[in-house]
């Protein structure tokens, strides 16, 4: 019954979305306040209905109602509660419901907090949002309905893929989707602005927090996915340049560019039509990320043939939104008047260069990901584009960008002076040299390029610090004055410093992992020891352990370093009888600077067990840095100036503040 109610609510939401798509748009065109006013209650209604549908699906999972097809296929009574919940989105149909649920949540937020938006703009934004909702709800209802019943219902479900039974991965999709769908806000605002033919500072002020929120969620989502891959897949890599990873990286790169160009659009009125184009691209790549990955087309063009109905609908949705938006852009963008001239050497110029490099980096990922498909489609040779290609194209584009990061915030708007900006970075330059010398002195193994990489990381972290120090007058005015300035410094400035510094920490982690990682592959009998990077690993015993829905082979390994006992590490190999699958569970011991990572393998038939151990230098910094970046996003979001609904109050406060 509840499941049928959910199905009904979803169908009703589709109808509401249709109304919300059409009526307010006509109202905005005719300047009819009555028609425009439908947008708000419709958006709220749509949210409530989709929440009901989502709730019904959740209920079916929680009660293990195996008469529902997706539940039977993806759940099991013995599965822990958290994975019954995450099972909702652990499959194609459910993940689409999560997608529209988040979409309708964003729509409802605009309806609730968008009171100070001009009526026409709000009506158009909500209508565009609704059109996305119509496409997705239609897709769900007609090709991927999660509420289909089974008759007769099986007694037990088939369980969830063990790889998905992991806390980080359980909440990875909601973050990723919050990011993808968050970019739909920037898209809706961009389309509404194109229809209106007007982009002003208030438009950019509205787009920035949504983009920032989406970017933050996407950063967390990608970091979670990478962390999961690191500890689950059993060989300790953190990024594989896999097509599906690339699918989430592309929107992130473009969203990062959008975040920066929207600053110029808001503060200086320049780069407006470019910002609109980025907003379109960011969401288009989110759609590509959501769909092409799901459809399996990235692996083979022929995947469409296995489920033509879904494939064709997906293709239609992509063509309609991306193609339609670009046509609208080509037609309307010339109407947007460019303002705010600036010299190449200025904050605007630096942000433009940032955009250029990020766009080229996104292009590298895009071309590399889709090129095999493209060659295959035109009948060319079958090729593979793997990590070496991305390392050779992506890295050369990122390095100059990273070099410029600390410089940008120190340049002035309109036209700037390079000498003054570099003088403020003297401290950071010293830090770079010190770090490089330390690295060269301490790390005798590994490539010398690693010293340059660590120097770059230090440049970013120290650059962020000295930029803040300069704003606070840390070494030039009395400490009390610095403290006073710190309290009045906008949150967005703190957020930016955190994000840029966090990026430096990520870079350090990646350099450490790439340059200094040490590996040991060996087979040990009980009682035998092996050495890795100063650690002595002794296999004490191997036993079995019973988990809630799996049984695990556990290796008990004693770890010593320089005679000091560091305790036991327990890598596991879990077997899931319901799903008939195995999963390695690495044992990871971190000291903040490096991870000791141990995986246990099979018995080699001669009484010895295969062990793989790594010393992963600076590995934890990759995710720590990503979390700092995301935290910077959150801190920025709390800035009063971006707070939705507070621009009037914020403006009066701003006037009392020194100019940025």
């Amino acid at each position: 019954m509840i499941v049928e109610l959910g199905h009904f609510a979803l169908t009703l939401a589709f109808a509401v979305a249709l109304v919300q798509m059409v009526v307010p748009m006509i109202g905005a065109h005719r300047r009819d306040a009555g028609l425009m006013a439908i947008a708000r209650p419709a958006a709220l209604m749509q949210f409530v209905l989709i929440a009901m549908a989502f709730g019904a699906l959740l209920f079916a999972y929680l009660t293990s109602d195996f008469s529902v097809k997706v539940v039977a296929e993806n759940s099991h009574t013995t599965k822990p509660l958290i994975y019954k919940i995450s099972g909702v989105w652990g499959n194609h149909e459910g993940s689409m419901v999560l997608w529209v649920f988040i979409l309708s949540l964003y729509g409802a937020l605009v309806a609730l907090f968008g009171r100070n938006l001009p009526d026409g703009l709000r009506a158009r934004v909500l209508a565009v949002q609704a059109s996305i909702g119509v496409a997705f709800l239609g897709f769900i209802l007609f090709t991927s309905n999660p509420f289909v019943r089974l008759d007769p219902a099986p007694f037990e479900g088939q369980g969830l893929n063990p790889l998905l039974q992991d806390p980080a991965l359980a909440f990875h999709p909601p973050f990723l989707y919050a990011g993808y769908v968050g970019l739909s806000m920037a898209f809706s605002f961009a389309i509404a602005a194109l229809i209106e033919g007007r982009v002003d500072a208030s438009w950019a002020r509205w787009v920035r927090p949504w983009t920032l929120g989406a970017w933050t969620a996407l950063t967390v989502g990608i970091a979670m996915g990478s962390w999961w891959a690191y500890y689950t897949l059993g060989w300790g890599g953190f990024w594989f340049w896999d097509p599906v990873e690339n699918a989430s990286l592309m929107p992130w790169l473009v969203a990062t560019a959008l975040l920066h160009s929207a600053i110029v659009a808001e503060k200086r009125g320049a780069l407006k039509s470019w910002t609109i184009l980025l907003a379109i691209f960011a969401f288009s790549l989110s759609l590509v990320g959501t769909f092409l990955v799901r459809s399996g087309v990235l692996n083979s063009v022929h995947a469409f043939a296995t489920d033509p109905s879904r494939g064709v609908v997906i293709l239609c949705i992509l063509v309609f939104f991306i193609g339609g938006a670009l046509i609208l852009y080509g037609w309307r963008a010339p109407v947007l008047k460019a303002e705010g001239l600036f010299a190449p050497l200025s904050r605007e110029g630096a942000l433009m260069l940032n955009n250029l490099l990020l766009a080229a980096a996104a292009a590298a990922v895009f071309i590399g990901t889709l090129y095999p498909l493209f060659l295959d489609a035109i009948g060319g040779p079958k090729i593979t584009v793997g990590p070496p290609f991305f390392n050779m194209t992506f890295a050369p584009l990122m390095v100059p960008l990273l070099c410029l990061v600390p410089l940008g915030p120190l340049l002035k708007w309109k036209r700037s002076d390079l000498v003054a900006a570099t003088e403020r970075l003297m401290g950071a330059g010293v830090a770079v040299i010190v770090v490089m010398l330390i690295v060269l002195a301490v790390k005798t193994h590994g490539p010398w390029l690693a010293a340059l990489g660590m120097g770059l990381a230090a440049w970013l972290v120290a650059g962020a610090f000295f930029e803040l120090a300069w704003r606070l007058g840390l070494f030039s005015v009395p400490l009390a004055e610095s403290f006073r300035r710190a309290r009045r410094l906008p949150r967005a400035s703190w957020g930016m410093a955190m994000a840029h510094g966090g990026l430096g920490i990520v870079v350090a982690g990646i350099v450490g992992m790439t340059a200094w990682r040490q590996e040991l592959v060996t087979a040990l009998k009980i009682g035998e020891s092996a050495e890795l990077a100063g650690y002595t690993l002794t296999l004490e015993q191997v036993g079995m352990r019973q988990g809630p829905n799996y049984e695990a082979l556990v290796g008990v390994i004693d770890v010593k370093r320089g005679g000091r006992d560091l305790g036991l590490m327990l890598p596991e190999k879990r077997r899931f009888p319901v799903e008939k699958q195995e999963k390695t569970e690495a044992a990871i011991r971190t000291n903040g600077f490096s991870d000791l990572y141990i995986v246990i393998g099979d018995d080699n038939g001669q009484g010895a067990w295969t062990l793989r151990a790594y010393e992963n230098s600076l590995a934890p910094w990759i995710w720590a840095g990503a979390i700092i970046m995301a935290a910077g996003g959150v801190v920025s979001l709390t800035d009063r100036r971006y707070r939705v609904g507070a621009p009037a109050r914020a403006r009066s406060r701003l006037a009392a503040q020194p100019a940025e």
Binding site: L163, L233, E245, T384, P387, T393, A523, E582, V599
Partner: protein, 151 residues
């Protein structure tokens, strides 16, 4: 990300054994190091986007063995890779070859960068030769005042 998981599932469904097995390794650390380097450049053909160094599929195991045999037989890295490509095709290379069919791939990202830079330069040129930026009311008033004083 979900599809990543599905693709990785294919790998793990085969059993959670490890990639390079101790029994496969060569005694000579230099040769073994070269074998690992080569392994990272070659694709496991039956897996999704995995190098033979990372994969535990039987085919990957065979390829790792062949690479080591070629190295022991005295092949250079290039010769060993060519040996595999001759038998399994270019699809096996994780780094696509540089040839007319892949020019667009290799030059594409940098072409995007150059095109973008070209547009940016054009915009700056036009900005410089075109009309001066319009002044806002404050700036205009200040200019008038200055000019008034000068006259």
């Amino acid at each position: 990300m979900r599809a990543l998981i599905l693709s990785l599932m294919l790998l793990l469904a085969a059993g959670a054994a490890l990639a390079v097995e101790p029994s496969e390794q060569l005694k000579d650390p230099v040769l073994e190091g070269r074998a690992r380097d080569i392994s990272r450049e070659l694709r496991c053909l039956v897996c999704q986007n995995q190098s033979i160094d990372d994969s535990n599929a039987d085919l990957a195991k065979d390829l790792r063995r062949i690479v080591r045999e070629r190295l022991v037989a005295g092949d250079t890295n290039e010769q060993a890779i060519d040996y595999i490509v001759a038998r399994y095709g270019q699809f096996v290379l994780l780094k696509p070859p540089f040839e007319p069919a892949t020019w667009l791939l290799w030059f594409g990202p940098f072409a995007v960068l150059l095109a973008g830079a070209g547009i940016a330069v054009a915009v700056f040129r036009r900005g410089r030769s075109g009309v001066a930026p319009s002044l806002d009311a404050d700036e205009q008033a200040r200019l008038d005042r200055l000019l008034g004083r000068a006259e």
